[in-house]
């Protein structure tokens, strides 16, 4: 039939099968388990993240203090940014 067509289909299926192979051969259990263990040890979420940008921290949460509604708001995002 049409040679180019076969060629294209072969290239595409090569790509797809490479990905599927990589995806299914990856040892997911091992990777998730070791991450789980490490976060049990240090009791903190991901730590290689240093987010140095000046992202507006008030962007998301304007929760006011539940006990003292008049008190100035405390930023609740800074644990993410690891001050």
């Amino acid at each position: 039939m049409i040679r180019e067509f076969y060629l294209l289909v072969m290239v595409l299926s090569l790509f797809l099968s490479a990905i599927i192979a990589h995806y299914s051969l990856f040892d997911r259990l091992e990777a998730t388990n070791s991450q789980l263990e490490l976060s049990r040890v240090v009791k903190m979420p991901l730590l290689a993240l240093s987010v140095g940008y000046l992202e507006s921290q008030k962007l998301f949460d304007d929760d006011s203090n539940t006990i003292y509604p008049q008190m100035q708001e405390i930023d609740r995002m800074d644990f993410v940014y690891e001050k």
Partner: protein, 392 residues
């Protein structure tokens, strides 16, 4: 396929005139590659965060003064434990240690040798570790990035930490955290709590913050309020809040990227519209012939839309595959810093491959809808050409 002359003709025609589609396919591949690389990275990091948040305690209690986090006294543990429903309060000691140049830093995490659960996890994590020996002398476990940094600066076996009192504290490297965990541990130094306190300048009676568990999650809200009213400078973070904050942060980052991408996409749509109008008008004779041979307007529309769909599909598959290779096999060299920040030590981070339906369908939808919508009108305007007119 032989059974359908239409498809056969379509395939022949498509490859005969592949030059018309080459440029759009290449640009499409580039665009899809970029978008899917960013989305892959953000979804994989989100996945990892979910894992590590899953192992977190339900609450984190901090002391905040003047908007800044300060150390809190250990006695808080007893007050917290008096609250009904609270279980298993543990201490955390952590902080950043800046190396001599005051620019590069590592995160020092102190672990409590009394904490059975974390000890067991540590044993599993680093097989060669001899806990007794590790916890009762000045030793540390370092992450991959820290290890490489220290080695480059001629500290292959240990490091002399400068405490805030001006004294040097020699700590030897006991082992390294496996580098498959670099996403979490690249900048990390794990050491016994007492040692960590000394290096970070935390008083013996203080800790950085506390975590606690509340097994009954119906009580979360009321206990959160109760704890918050125990001290004037206390701050209580719930696990759910953290989850939300992380989710938001990654949505925000990839969302900003997506917005920029949409602007690019809008430009691309305009180019596509122009280009296909041009390409198609050069095919007027062809179309006229087909019409004269007896093709209906619908058939021509079908032929042309199949062509666009083919371009979209081919570039989608290639673009997404390349992005997958780039992110999960070649560890996304540049783009990952967008998500991790540029302040980290030099890192080689392996992400866990995550390909979920949401990401794939988002990429496909945004691209296909925009692409096909932009070629619809050129396609139609060529398909309704009169055969007689076209032959002139």
């Amino acid at each position: 396929m032989r059974s359908s002359p239409f498809l056969y003709f379509f395939t022949l025609q498509f490859f005969r005139e592949y030059k018309n589609h080459l440029a759009t396919t290449v640009i499409s591949i580039a665009l899809i590659f970029l978008l899917s690389a960013v989305l892959f990275i953000s979804s994989s990091i989100k996945y990892s965060i979910d894992i590590s948040l899953g192992a977190q305690a339900d609450f984190v209690v901090e002391r905040v003064r003047g908007g800044k986090k300060v150390d809190l006294p250990i006695e808080w543990i007893d007050t917290l434990l008096e609250t009904r429903g609270v279980q298993k309060v543990t201490t955390r000691v952590h902080g950043r240690y800046f190396f001599e140049d005051k620019r590069e830093w590592a995160l020092i995490v102190g672990i409590d040798f009394m904490d059975e659960q974390s000890n067991r996890a540590l044993e599993k994590l680093v097989e060669s570790v001899d806990l007794e020996k590790f916890l009762f002398s000045s030793n540390m476990l370092v992450g991959d990035g820290v290890q490489r940094y220290l080695k480059e600066h001629f500290y292959p076996k240990g490091y002399n930490f400068l405490t805030p009192d001006g004294k040097y504290k020699k700590v030897s490297i006991f082992g390294t955290i496996p580098n498959s965990l670099n996403l979490m541990s690249n900048n990390m130094i794990i050491m016994p709590q007492e040692l960590a306190k000394e290096i970070l300048g935390i008083k013996k009676s203080m800790v950085t913050d506390l975590t606690l568990n509340v097994p009954n999650d119906n009580l979360w809200d009321s206990i959160s309020d109760k704890i918050a009213s125990l001290y004037y400078d206390i701050r209580v973070l719930t696990k759910r809040e953290m989850q939300k904050a992380y989710e938001n942060m990654y949505n925000y980052k990839s969302g900003v990227f997506l917005m920029l991408f949409l602007i690019t996409m809008a430009t691309f749509v305009l180019i596509l519209y122009q280009r296909y109008s041009m390409v198609f008008s050069s095919q007027r004779r062809n179309i006229g012939l087909l019409r004269a041979v007896g093709w209906s307007i619908r058939d021509i529309l079908k032929l042309k839309l199949y062509e666009s769909l083919m371009v979209v599909l081919v570039s989608y598959v290639i673009g997404v595959s390349l992005a997958y290779l780039y992110v999960f096999v070649f560890d996304s060299p540049v783009l990952i810093d967008m998500f991790l920040g540029g302040e980290n030590l030099d890192h080689k981070i392996k992400l866990i491959p995550v390909v979920d339906f949401g990401v794939l369908s988002s990429i496909f939808l945004i691209y296909t809808v925009a692409f096909i919508a932009s070629v619809l009108i050129p396609t139609w305007s060529i398909a309704v050409t009169d055969p007689k007119e076209a032959m002139l």
